[in-house]
């Protein structure tokens, strides 16, 4: 259905179900319980899951298919965010024009950067994109302060024009982002026994965009164009010798993946109308590389899983403090409790990077195909080595 074969359809369905029911899936623990700490089903984090999912899907179209490792993808995300916020400042608080503009601007931006960077391949390409991204970051951070508001970040104010909307609401505050009147921050809370599930409008907009983006990615993966991109990855030289000019294909892939990043940036600004320069920093570019590799580069669903994994650590693990630890281990005798807290301390709170780093190393060493390979191994183990079917599955990791 939708022009997909059975496997891809079921994959799309899995993604759709996962995203649409995320408020339930991510909130497994009752609100009052001690484990509520690990709940991730609140609007901001769910939005981040899907937005970074979109970002990683786009990155994977370039990296997973062509093998070109862009180390400056965050620049497009940042450009998308800035365009969207400017749209909120100048035009209206409707998210649609903002998202459209962010996709277009980041596409153009990707065209320029891609045109220059794609003259080289391999490590030189990575360095070129990294250089461009750092240039964009520095420009946004200080030189272009009138446009980007520097380190403070671009924010809405009470005296923005907003030609098609209102400058300020009747009660004198800044209007909120909406989709034809549907407020992005609107949340419906559903209490089921001790659980509280939050359904946020902004999240569902992001979720629908993610499903559409995922569908588009499947179509690209399965198209002749996608085949060309894979050919670039396996042996670009041979391709050139056969008389094919691979440049237009790689450039198209670069622009598409830049537009995905812009879309993610636009959505991010729509959920929270602020754009900061640090979104373009090299650490942000590195993050999407980590997400893709952690989840499984070249697979369809891998980058989404990787994005969720990293964002979960960033937001949940970083918030566990010593107080919480003492609460958990309070059943132990005093000396032992302090000792255990002392041991665990470096891995939580501000040490979440350490935990993530260790997990990343474990995944890369033992599961080179990322989380997807892990899932396949478990599935294979359950099915009892019925490898024939799993082998040709659509989630086969690229080398």
């Amino acid at each position: 259905m939708f022009g997909l074969d059975k496997k891809d359809t079921s994959l799309l369905m899995i993604v759709a179900v996962l995203t649409l029911f995320a408020p339930f899936i991510l909130n497994p623990f009752p609100t009052g319980s001690g484990l509520a700490q690990f709940n991730a089903g609140y609007p901001d984090l769910m939005q981040r899951f899907v937005i970074f999912g979109i970002f990683a899907i786009g990155f994977n179209i370039l990296f997973g298919l062509t093998g070109y490792l862009s180390f400056g993808h965050a620049a497009f995300l940042g450009v998308g965010s800035y365009s969207a916020v400017w749209m909120f400042k100048l035009l209206s608080m409707n998210v649609l024009p903002a998202i459209l503009l962010s996709v277009i601007i980041s596409g153009l931006f990707a065209l320029v950067i891609g045109f220059i960077s794609l003259r080289r391949s391999g490590i030189y390409f990575s360095i070129l994109t990294l250089a461009f991204a750092q240039m964009s970051f520095s420009l946004a951070y200080s030189v272009l302060t009138p446009i980007t508001n520097g380190e403070t970040g671009l924010q809405l104010t009470l005296d923005d024009p907003r030609v098609l909307g209102v400058t300020a609401t009747a009660d004198g505050s800044i209007p909120v982002t909406n989709l034809f009147g549907l407020e992005m921050r609107g949340t419906y809370e559903m209490a089921v026994g001790p659980w509280a599930f939050q359904f946020n409008i902004g999240y569902y907009l992001c979720a629908l965009v993610l499903i559409a983006a995922f569908y588009l990615a499947i179509r690209i993966f399965r198209s002749p164009f996608g085949m060309m991109l894979r050919a670039v990855k396996s042996n670009q030289q041979r391709m050139n010798y056969t008389g094919l000019n691979s440049k237009p294909y790689t450039l198209a892939a670069f622009v598409i993946s830049g537009m995905y990043a812009g879309l993610a940036g636009g959505l991010m600004a729509s959920m929270d109308p602020l754009a900061g320069a640090e979104r373009m920093q090299w650490t942000a570019s590195g993050e999407v590389v980590l997400m893709t590799i952690l989840g499984g580069a070249g697979t369809l669903i891998g980058p989404v899983l990787g994005a969720g994994f990293i964002k979960y650590f960033e937001n949940i693990f970083s918030k566990i403090n010593d107080n919480v630890l003492h609460g958990w281990f309070s059943f132990m005798p005093d000396g032992l409790e302090d000792f255990v807290v002392f041991i665990v301390h470096p891995f939580i709170g501000k040490g979440w990077h350490l935990t993530l780093g260790i997990l990343f190393m474990l995944v890369v060493i033992y599961l080179p195909g990322g989380l997807v390979e892990g899932g396949q191994r478990i599935a294979g183990w359950i099915k009892g080595n019925k490898q024939s079917d799993a082998q040709q599955s659509e989630t086969k990791p690229a080398e």
């Binding site: 259905m1 609107g186 949340t187 359904f199 399965r222 640090e278």
Partner: protein, 448 residues
């Protein structure tokens, strides 16, 4: 590669799923009916403390967190009560806020606006925080203040010194106890005039973000009013750790005063570089070369070691003050942690108590009621003398300290000495002062 064969079953299934997907977001259009965001219903109330635990301001952040924990202890009636005993308002009884036990959640701002907003959002959406406090970078404080305004919770700014926080970026839900760059300039200028005369050439090195810009503007205006000349102003990146390339040109610029608009780790590094280049031993234009650090703190003095001796700056509060409030605070902080608190800790502690007191007096956690209780509130006994929370811009007005790096410190904490206490009248300004113009408070937002 793509073939489209439609079966009845498949069509039904697809239709049902897409229909459900499309309908789901439209069902829930309104928020549930509560009077305001995160109305605490149980026996406890949650505050969110959002401080930098990593990055250039991590030292300040760690000290702020200690102060918050201490404030929560005192609010819940643990410990010796600290400043609650000297505070002029006696509404708080050490039984929580409005009888509810105070709990808190912490987060790491990473000194980045994005991360800080994400962390604050999770506190509001997930943990149900009714008030967010924190800071250490003005850029972050302004970003989080904007978020709190949108979300409908109160923001009690921690250490943020930029004029913009209560100037062009002020918000109805945001309140600042800390002093600002304008006040630093106004307090420092007379002292500088007495020390160094009125015929000086100044060279500014400025951290390149909102705080640095407004600080440079303020100090420049104040010193130029004395008759000083500004030779050059150079912006340095916040993330910079080595300032040698910025210090070298100072030597040949003809300037005889270097003004370091740097804070935290930045100031420690730039001052160390300046001293290493021998700036302090130079004689330029027949005068001794001087260095001024407009915003000073003990943590910075500690980081820069012997280099701070004899260098002047301004500060919001210092632990050696001898009023009742300061003594009580230093005593309880010292008892709990074994060393005296920094000015960052002081302002965060005071902000938490002020918030709790305002809720208690208002009789409600509703942000609008709390804001009303804070606006125009006059209090004493919090270490800064008589203080006013001005209603026009939610800025506190109080005395400002001018301090100097001590020549002969008696302990590792005794690094600064108070040179002068600039009275409140001298640092006051009109709400529509040009350095603060361009923003509006808007109206308070209770959310929901």
């Amino acid at each position: 590669m793509s073939k489209l064969d439609v079966s009845r079953r498949g069509l039904l299934r697809t239709g049902a799923v897409t229909g459900a997907g499309l309908a789901l977001p439209t069902i829930f259009t309104a928020q549930s009916a509560a009077a305001f965001t995160n109305d605490p219903t149980g026996g406890s109330v949650t505050l969110g403390f959002n401080v930098p635990q990593t990055g250039p301001y991590a030292d300040e952040g760690a000290d702020e967190l200690r102060a918050y924990e201490l404030a929560v202890d005192h609010l819940n009636g643990d410990g010796d009560g600290g400043m609650l005993n000297s505070f002029s308002s006696k509404a708080l009884e050490g039984s929580g806020i409005l009888g509810k036990k105070v709990e808190y959640v912490t987060g790491d701002t990473q000194t980045k606006s994005d991360a800080a907003r994400a962390s604050a959002k999770s506190m509001i959406e997930k943990d149900g925080a009714i008030m967010i406090s924190g800071g250490s970078s003005s850029g972050v404080a302004i970003a989080v203040q904007g978020l709190c305004q949108e979300a409908g919770v109160i923001f009690m700014a921690g250490l943020t010194h930029s004029n913009d926080t209560t100037g062009k970026d002020k918000k109805a839900n945001g309140f600042r106890h800390f002093f600002n760059a304008y006040m630093s300039g106004a307090a420092l200028a007379p002292v500088l005039k007495n020390l160094y005369g009125d015929d000086r050439k100044a060279y500014h090195l400025t951290a390149d973000y909102t705080w640095g810009w407004t600080q440079e503007e303020s100090i420049k205006a104040a010193t130029e009013a004395l008759g000083w000349e500004t030779v050059n102003t150079v912006k340095t990146p916040l993330a910079a750790t080595d300032f040698s390339s910025y210090i070298a040109p100072v030597l040949n610029s003809g300037a005889d005063v270097l003004i370091l608009n740097h804070y935290g780790g930045n100031m420690v590094n730039s001052l160390t570089n300046a001293v290493q280049f021998g700036l302090r031993d130079k004689v330029v234009n027949g005068k001794n070369f001087e260095i001024v650090v407009p915003l000073y703190s003990r943590l910075m003095a500690k980081g820069a070691g012997a280099n701070v001796k004899g260098i002047h700056g301004s500060t919001n509060w210092h632990w050696s003050l001898q009023d009742e409030g300061s003594k009580a605070f230093v005593r309880s902080f010292g008892t709990k942690y074994g060393f005296p608190p920094s000015q960052a800790a002081h302002t965060c502690y005071v902000q938490t108590l002020l918030y709790a007191d305002a809720v208690q007096r208002a009789g409600s956690f509703n942000p609008c009621a709390v804001a009303e209780a804070l606006e125009g509130f006059e209090f004493d006994g919090m270490g800064n003398g008589k203080t006013l929370y001005r209603a026009d811009d939610h800025q506190c007005f109080k005395d400002v300290l001018v301090v100097r790096g001590k020549e002969n410190p008696t302990s590792e904490f005794d690094l600064l000495e108070v040179v002068e206490v600039t009275p409140r009248e001298q640092v006051e300004y009109a709400p529509d002062h040009p350095m603060f113009a361009g923003g509006q408070l808007g109206s308070c937002n209770p959310g929901a």
